[in-house]
Amino acid sequence: MSIVALGIIIAIKVVVILAIILGIGAYLTLVERKVAAHIQRRPGPMVVGWHGLLQPLADGIKLLTKEDILPSSANQVLYNLAIIMALVPASLVFAVVPFGPEIHVFGYDVKPILTDVNIGIIMAFAFGSLAVYGVALSGWASNSKYALIGALRKAGIIISYEVVITFAALGPIMLAKSLSTYDIVMAQIHQKVWYIFLQPISFVVFVFALLAETGRVPFDIQEAEAELVTGFTVEYGGMKFGLFPLVEWYVEVLSLSSILTVLYLGGWSPINIPFVGFVDPLFFLGPWSGFIWFIIKVTILFLLVLWLHWTLPRYRIDQITTIAWKVMLPLALFNILITAFIAPLLRG
């Protein structure tokens, strides 16, 4: 493969991934509003388009045409830099997410993953937690007490749950004997088992850490509306205000759900019967069924997150950190201990 072809393929991948993520991220606002509405027995947006299908466009136009207000006592450079620092790392996580099996397009074997580095999982967690800088800076730069308190809370949560999420993910990594996202999925396919069956504790811990990292209920203390009036975004307006929830609630949830799918749900593999094999009701799609399965799994996880969000009340900040250090971390360590005994029994 020549270097030009490689460059073109990488460029196409970047464009496709960015377009999909930002486009879907915008439309997930509609999904969230619909789910929330129906849980509360409302129909949600109904006016713009059929059942409100054009509502995200209307929202986007509204946010873009709003007046751009800069707080006079804010630090203007950091105030704007914070948005970039929130958006970029969250989208960078998708660089190591494998969306499907290797496909054969125009004479090239293309892996649907931007960079198949051999430490992909660590990259994902590193980028995922880099997003805390956007939050912390936005809180400090807006020079508002609400924003600062929200940012400090978010930073505290990220520090706690970054440890938890890494230790939880060590279980599947030990079973797969690899740090590469692509290889972890391949290991699950070869061993004919999704790691959720072998790692239920770690799965639950990971889901909770996902909720905490993305600021979802029951861990959304950093933007507790009742006390902090949405926390660190309080001084932002227009599209700048719109970008923070877009990043935090949608792009990050999508990225961490993808990582969760890769680690525990066998990535693009079809329905699994443990240690027996895979059943694929979508066999007629040929090699493309993998992509569909990946999308289905991420969608289910996203809906689960929404379902939890609109059901539960929120914890206090001290309860959140207590859960992280006194419950989640010991559970994850215990899980690693058990996994160390299970791992040699699985054939590689």
Partner: protein, 173 residues
Amino acid sequence: MLNQIAFYLFGSISIICGLGVVSASNPIYVVLWLLGALIAISGIFFSAGAELLGALQLMVYVVAIAVFYILIITAVPWRKLHKNEQHNRLIGVTVLPFIALLYVEAFIVGISGVSITKNKIIETITKNYGNAEVIGIKLFSTYFWAFELMSVLLLISMIGAILLGRKEEKTYD
């Protein structure tokens, strides 16, 4: 060729960011420059093929440690930042010869050239297995004693930190 370009790019970024660290007066800017320098250094690791080191650099230094800086600095009130405080120039002047010595050492080492293992063993292992295995093998064979000692040290310090941070229950007998 591409590697060299990447190396010079990240190297120059890290040097510029390092200059920013020592010249900026606002502590938040200092931390941001430091962040840039650390990310650029992890970029150097990536371009050199040491992906695990680069990722750990990102995770440990960029996220975990620099977040603590941010946490502490965001608690600094705004009006204190507008004062032009004197840096500790005396300490800086005192430390300068030692830092210069460090650079001289690095220069000598760079010219004479060192290698951890002979016969390019590491490169072959990296190609065959990957970064994590190399580091694992090195840690658990050559540097096993140091590794274990360090683990025990960290454990002791962690227990110490917990003991110090624990609230003493006051008992008056």
